[in-house]
Symmetry: C2
Subunit: 120 residues, 2 copies
């Protein structure tokens, strides 16, 4: 099966990396992993609002791209730890800048929205 997205990304492959990083949950996963190694359930709590499915999927994508390191311990109950690779750390730092910027400027954006909504 060939999806449009694949064709699209063949034309510009770096977009696919960027889209993984900037994906809804990707941003948050990278952000929270900046704080250090985390277990699956810790990530879920830390992010809030992610389903297990999406978290697992996001982590797999980021692991495949070499941004996240997955370490599974063969014990019962299972224990899996996620952390940033050096490459992932670089990406996460930049994402974090963007995230903190938007927090910092949130009020300006909200003002702009009010102005915009008022006159239309």
């Amino acid at each position: 099966m060939v999806r449009d997205a694949d064709v699209y990304n063949q034309r510009c492959p770096s977009r696919s990396v960027l889209e993984h990083i900037t994906s809804r949950w990707g941003v948050l996963v990278l952000g929270i992993l900046l704080a250090g190694t985390q277990r699956f359930s810790e990530l879920r709590k830390g992010i809030g609002g992610v389903s297990e499915k999406m978290l697992a999927q996001t982590l797999q994508t980021l692991e495949r791209d070499g941004l996240v390191l997955r370490k599974a311990y063969p014990v019962i109950p299972p224990r899996v730890e996620y952390s940033l690779t050096p490459l992932g750390l670089e990406a996460a730092r930049r994402v974090a800048e963007l995230a903190s910027w938007s927090e910092l400027n949130l009020s300006k954006v909200l003002d702009a929205r009010q102005t915009y909504d008022a006159q239309s």
Copy 2:
């Protein structure tokens, strides 16, 4: 109508700003506007692969957030120019860093993907 996304963003409003900026087309629009003022059709060509609908929608969202300035000239045929506001410029710069980072490190990511795919 109340969407889940709205409820979700009420819990953490700054996420909504971040999501607009990091949205699939938002990233690209901000990136291309760094080069300067552009008309609607120029943006479409410059980005490549956007439908008119999504471009218009993205531009409206960014305009509402005070990141993009829309200037419409009352002539026939219509002429509308888009540019970055000072706030938008700040955001765009950070996004551009992320974008150029992912281009620069594309090969590393592709290597990681190969390794990952090979062993599973």
